[in-house]
Symmetry: C2
Subunit: 141 residues, 2 copies
Protein backbone atom coordinates (compact mmCIF):
# COMPACT_ATOMS: atom_id res chain seq x y z
CA UNK A 1 0.00 0.00 0.00
CA UNK A 2 2.89 2.33 0.77
CA UNK A 3 4.06 1.71 -2.78
CA UNK A 4 0.81 2.61 -4.42
CA UNK A 5 0.38 5.81 -2.49
CA UNK A 6 3.51 7.08 -4.20
CA UNK A 7 2.24 6.07 -7.61
CA UNK A 8 0.95 9.56 -8.32
CA UNK A 9 4.43 11.05 -7.97
CA UNK A 10 5.86 8.87 -10.73
CA UNK A 11 6.78 10.14 -14.15
CA UNK A 12 4.09 9.32 -16.68
CA UNK A 13 6.57 7.26 -18.67
CA UNK A 14 7.26 4.91 -15.79
CA UNK A 15 3.56 4.63 -15.10
CA UNK A 16 2.97 3.75 -18.72
CA UNK A 17 5.71 1.11 -18.83
CA UNK A 18 4.57 -0.52 -15.62
CA UNK A 19 0.94 -0.71 -16.68
CA UNK A 20 1.97 -2.03 -20.08
CA UNK A 21 4.17 -4.70 -18.50
CA UNK A 22 1.37 -5.86 -16.22
CA UNK A 23 -1.20 -6.15 -18.98
CA UNK A 24 1.31 -7.79 -21.30
CA UNK A 25 2.24 -10.26 -18.58
CA UNK A 26 -1.37 -11.31 -18.03
CA UNK A 27 -1.94 -11.62 -21.75
CA UNK A 28 1.25 -13.65 -22.23
CA UNK A 29 0.19 -15.99 -19.41
CA UNK A 30 -3.01 -16.73 -21.27
CA UNK A 31 -1.28 -17.14 -24.63
CA UNK A 32 1.29 -19.51 -23.13
CA UNK A 33 -1.35 -22.25 -23.39
CA UNK A 34 -0.68 -22.30 -27.12
CA UNK A 35 3.05 -21.58 -26.89
CA UNK A 36 2.35 -18.04 -28.03
CA UNK A 37 3.02 -14.54 -26.70
CA UNK A 38 1.85 -11.03 -27.51
CA UNK A 39 4.39 -10.50 -30.30
CA UNK A 40 3.69 -13.75 -32.12
CA UNK A 41 -0.02 -13.29 -31.66
CA UNK A 42 0.06 -9.89 -33.34
CA UNK A 43 1.97 -11.36 -36.28
CA UNK A 44 -0.54 -14.19 -36.74
CA UNK A 45 -3.27 -11.58 -36.65
CA UNK A 46 -1.69 -9.62 -39.48
CA UNK A 47 -1.14 -12.80 -41.49
CA UNK A 48 -4.89 -13.39 -41.66
CA UNK A 49 -4.93 -11.21 -44.77
CA UNK A 50 -2.51 -13.55 -46.50
CA UNK A 51 1.29 -14.02 -46.79
CA UNK A 52 3.45 -11.02 -46.08
CA UNK A 53 7.10 -9.98 -46.09
CA UNK A 54 8.78 -9.47 -42.75
CA UNK A 55 9.23 -5.76 -43.26
CA UNK A 56 5.54 -5.34 -43.96
CA UNK A 57 4.87 -7.11 -40.68
CA UNK A 58 7.29 -4.93 -38.73
CA UNK A 59 5.86 -1.65 -40.01
CA UNK A 60 2.34 -1.68 -38.56
CA UNK A 61 3.61 -3.11 -35.28
CA UNK A 62 6.20 -0.30 -35.03
CA UNK A 63 9.03 -2.71 -34.45
CA UNK A 64 12.49 -3.01 -36.05
CA UNK A 65 13.09 -5.52 -38.84
CA UNK A 66 15.62 -7.34 -36.68
CA UNK A 67 13.09 -7.83 -33.92
CA UNK A 68 10.49 -9.12 -36.36
CA UNK A 69 13.05 -11.53 -37.81
CA UNK A 70 13.39 -13.30 -34.47
CA UNK A 71 9.70 -13.25 -33.63
CA UNK A 72 8.94 -14.91 -36.95
CA UNK A 73 11.76 -17.38 -36.43
CA UNK A 74 10.20 -18.39 -33.13
CA UNK A 75 6.78 -18.78 -34.74
CA UNK A 76 8.38 -20.97 -37.38
CA UNK A 77 9.97 -23.18 -34.71
CA UNK A 78 6.52 -23.63 -33.18
CA UNK A 79 5.13 -24.57 -36.58
CA UNK A 80 2.68 -21.67 -36.73
CA UNK A 81 4.26 -20.11 -39.77
CA UNK A 82 6.38 -21.00 -42.81
CA UNK A 83 9.06 -18.86 -44.42
CA UNK A 84 10.04 -18.87 -48.08
CA UNK A 85 12.12 -16.55 -50.23
CA UNK A 86 9.85 -14.64 -52.60
CA UNK A 87 10.21 -15.67 -56.25
CA UNK A 88 9.42 -12.19 -57.52
CA UNK A 89 11.93 -10.45 -55.22
CA UNK A 90 14.47 -12.78 -53.72
CA UNK A 91 15.34 -10.27 -50.99
CA UNK A 92 11.93 -10.71 -49.45
CA UNK A 93 10.97 -13.54 -47.11
CA UNK A 94 7.32 -14.42 -47.48
CA UNK A 95 5.77 -15.42 -44.17
CA UNK A 96 2.65 -17.60 -44.33
CA UNK A 97 0.45 -18.77 -41.47
CA UNK A 98 -0.04 -22.54 -41.24
CA UNK A 99 -3.34 -24.20 -40.35
CA UNK A 100 -2.00 -24.72 -36.84
CA UNK A 101 -1.16 -21.03 -36.65
CA UNK A 102 -4.62 -19.96 -37.74
CA UNK A 103 -6.23 -22.39 -35.31
CA UNK A 104 -4.07 -21.20 -32.40
CA UNK A 105 -4.93 -17.57 -33.12
CA UNK A 106 -8.63 -18.38 -33.30
CA UNK A 107 -8.64 -20.28 -30.01
CA UNK A 108 -6.40 -17.83 -28.15
CA UNK A 109 -8.40 -14.77 -29.12
CA UNK A 110 -11.82 -16.33 -28.69
CA UNK A 111 -14.08 -14.34 -26.37
CA UNK A 112 -12.07 -11.14 -26.47
CA UNK A 113 -9.77 -12.37 -23.76
CA UNK A 114 -7.23 -9.69 -24.68
CA UNK A 115 -9.36 -6.73 -23.75
CA UNK A 116 -10.96 -8.55 -20.83
CA UNK A 117 -7.70 -8.08 -18.94
CA UNK A 118 -8.06 -4.31 -19.04
CA UNK A 119 -11.85 -4.39 -18.82
CA UNK A 120 -11.67 -6.26 -15.51
CA UNK A 121 -9.69 -3.45 -13.95
CA UNK A 122 -11.17 -0.42 -15.63
CA UNK A 123 -14.76 0.66 -16.34
CA UNK A 124 -15.77 0.79 -19.98
CA UNK A 125 -15.84 4.55 -20.22
CA UNK A 126 -12.36 4.83 -18.69
CA UNK A 127 -11.02 2.21 -21.09
CA UNK A 128 -12.35 4.16 -24.05
CA UNK A 129 -10.73 7.35 -22.74
CA UNK A 130 -7.47 5.54 -22.13
CA UNK A 131 -7.45 4.05 -25.62
CA UNK A 132 -8.11 7.43 -27.14
CA UNK A 133 -5.18 9.03 -25.37
CA UNK A 134 -2.89 6.12 -26.24
CA UNK A 135 -3.77 6.36 -29.91
CA UNK A 136 -2.99 10.07 -29.87
CA UNK A 137 0.32 9.40 -28.12
CA UNK A 138 1.39 6.76 -30.64
CA UNK A 139 0.41 8.94 -33.58
CA UNK A 140 2.36 11.93 -32.27
CA UNK A 141 5.54 9.95 -31.51
Amino acid sequence: MADDSDLHTWATGRLLSTAARFVEHAWDAHLAQWGLNHAGCAVLFLLQDGPCSQRRLAGPLHVQDQTMSRVVERLERRGYVTRARSAADRRRVLVTATDAGRAALREATAGDRADAIVADALPEAATAELRGHLVTLVQRL
Copy 2:
Protein backbone atom coordinates in the same frame (compact mmCIF):
# COMPACT_ATOMS: atom_id res chain seq x y z
CA MET B 1 -1.12 6.73 -42.31
CA ALA B 2 -2.59 3.37 -43.30
CA ASP B 3 -1.03 2.00 -40.13
CA ASP B 4 -2.48 4.58 -37.83
CA SER B 5 -5.97 4.26 -39.21
CA ASP B 6 -5.97 0.67 -37.95
CA LEU B 7 -4.76 1.73 -34.53
CA HIS B 8 -8.28 1.77 -33.15
CA THR B 9 -8.75 -1.92 -33.92
CA TRP B 10 -5.77 -2.96 -31.80
CA ALA B 11 -6.10 -4.68 -28.46
CA THR B 12 -5.63 -2.23 -25.61
CA GLY B 13 -2.60 -4.19 -24.41
CA ARG B 14 -0.73 -3.71 -27.65
CA LEU B 15 -1.65 -0.05 -27.69
CA LEU B 16 -0.33 0.30 -24.17
CA SER B 17 2.96 -1.48 -24.92
CA THR B 18 3.57 0.54 -28.06
CA ALA B 19 2.90 3.87 -26.38
CA ALA B 20 5.07 2.86 -23.42
CA ARG B 21 7.91 1.83 -25.72
CA PHE B 22 7.77 5.14 -27.58
CA VAL B 23 7.84 7.27 -24.46
CA GLU B 24 10.52 5.11 -22.87
CA HIS B 25 12.61 5.36 -26.02
CA ALA B 26 12.47 9.14 -26.04
CA TRP B 27 13.27 9.27 -22.34
CA ASP B 28 16.19 6.85 -22.75
CA ALA B 29 17.55 8.94 -25.61
CA HIS B 30 17.67 11.95 -23.32
CA LEU B 31 19.19 10.00 -20.41
CA ALA B 32 21.87 8.52 -22.66
CA GLN B 33 23.74 11.82 -22.29
CA TRP B 34 24.65 10.71 -18.79
CA GLY B 35 24.99 7.01 -19.60
CA LEU B 36 21.69 6.43 -17.87
CA ASN B 37 18.36 4.86 -18.82
CA HIS B 38 14.86 4.76 -17.35
CA ALA B 39 15.61 1.85 -15.04
CA GLY B 40 18.78 3.29 -13.55
CA CYS B 41 17.21 6.71 -13.29
CA ALA B 42 14.33 5.34 -11.22
CA VAL B 43 16.80 3.63 -8.89
CA LEU B 44 18.79 6.82 -8.35
CA PHE B 45 15.53 8.57 -7.62
CA LEU B 46 14.66 6.09 -4.88
CA LEU B 47 18.17 6.34 -3.42
CA GLN B 48 17.65 10.01 -2.68
CA ASP B 49 16.15 8.97 0.64
CA GLY B 50 19.37 7.20 1.59
CA PRO B 51 20.96 3.75 1.15
CA CYS B 52 18.63 0.86 0.47
CA SER B 53 18.74 -2.90 -0.02
CA GLN B 54 18.16 -4.20 -3.53
CA ARG B 55 14.90 -5.88 -2.63
CA ARG B 56 13.53 -2.64 -1.25
CA LEU B 57 14.42 -1.02 -4.55
CA ALA B 58 12.75 -3.73 -6.60
CA GLY B 59 9.48 -3.61 -4.68
CA PRO B 60 8.20 -0.10 -5.45
CA LEU B 61 9.33 -0.42 -9.07
CA HIS B 62 7.43 -3.71 -9.42
CA VAL B 63 10.41 -5.52 -10.81
CA GLN B 64 12.00 -8.89 -9.92
CA ASP B 65 15.03 -9.02 -7.64
CA GLN B 66 17.09 -10.53 -10.43
CA THR B 67 16.31 -7.63 -12.71
CA MET B 68 17.18 -5.10 -10.04
CA SER B 69 20.45 -6.92 -9.39
CA ARG B 70 21.61 -6.26 -12.93
CA VAL B 71 20.35 -2.70 -13.10
CA VAL B 72 22.27 -1.87 -9.93
CA GLU B 73 25.34 -3.69 -11.26
CA ARG B 74 25.23 -1.48 -14.33
CA LEU B 75 24.89 1.66 -12.20
CA GLU B 76 27.88 0.50 -10.20
CA ARG B 77 29.95 0.05 -13.37
CA ARG B 78 29.07 3.64 -14.31
CA GLY B 79 30.16 4.80 -10.87
CA TYR B 80 26.77 6.15 -9.92
CA VAL B 81 26.30 3.78 -7.01
CA THR B 82 28.29 1.68 -4.54
CA ARG B 83 27.34 -1.72 -3.17
CA ALA B 84 28.29 -3.13 0.20
CA ARG B 85 27.11 -6.07 2.24
CA SER B 86 25.06 -4.89 5.21
CA ALA B 87 26.77 -5.38 8.56
CA ALA B 88 23.49 -5.92 10.40
CA ASP B 89 22.20 -8.52 7.96
CA ARG B 90 24.86 -9.97 5.71
CA ARG B 91 22.28 -11.23 3.23
CA ARG B 92 21.41 -7.68 2.26
CA VAL B 93 23.36 -5.57 -0.20
CA LEU B 94 23.21 -1.89 0.69
CA VAL B 95 23.10 0.33 -2.38
CA THR B 96 24.28 3.92 -1.96
CA ALA B 97 24.24 6.72 -4.50
CA THR B 98 27.58 8.41 -5.13
CA ASP B 99 28.04 12.15 -5.64
CA ALA B 100 28.28 11.50 -9.36
CA GLY B 101 25.02 9.57 -9.22
CA ARG B 102 23.21 12.35 -7.40
CA ALA B 103 24.59 14.92 -9.82
CA ALA B 104 23.59 12.90 -12.87
CA LEU B 105 20.07 12.47 -11.54
CA ARG B 106 19.77 16.18 -10.82
CA GLU B 107 20.96 17.22 -14.27
CA ALA B 108 18.99 14.59 -16.15
CA THR B 109 15.71 15.37 -14.45
CA ALA B 110 16.12 19.14 -14.45
CA GLY B 111 13.19 20.95 -16.00
CA ASP B 112 10.76 18.04 -15.87
CA ARG B 113 12.10 16.61 -19.08
CA ALA B 114 10.47 13.28 -18.29
CA ASP B 115 6.91 14.50 -18.44
CA ALA B 116 7.64 16.96 -21.20
CA ILE B 117 7.78 14.00 -23.59
CA VAL B 118 4.16 13.15 -22.92
CA ALA B 119 3.10 16.76 -22.45
CA ASP B 120 4.31 17.62 -25.96
CA ALA B 121 1.94 15.07 -27.46
CA LEU B 122 -1.03 15.32 -25.14
CA PRO B 123 -2.94 18.27 -23.65
CA GLU B 124 -2.69 18.70 -19.92
CA ALA B 125 -6.20 17.52 -19.16
CA ALA B 126 -5.74 14.39 -21.24
CA THR B 127 -2.45 13.61 -19.50
CA ALA B 128 -4.13 13.86 -16.13
CA GLU B 129 -6.90 11.53 -17.26
CA LEU B 130 -4.36 9.10 -18.71
CA ARG B 131 -2.32 9.09 -15.51
CA GLY B 132 -5.43 8.44 -13.44
CA HIS B 133 -6.40 5.42 -15.50
CA LEU B 134 -2.85 4.06 -15.46
CA VAL B 135 -2.66 4.34 -11.67
CA THR B 136 -5.94 2.43 -11.38
CA LEU B 137 -4.69 -0.23 -13.77
CA VAL B 138 -1.43 -0.75 -11.87
CA GLN B 139 -3.22 -0.89 -8.53
CA ARG B 140 -5.71 -3.47 -9.75
CA LEU B 141 -3.10 -5.77 -11.35
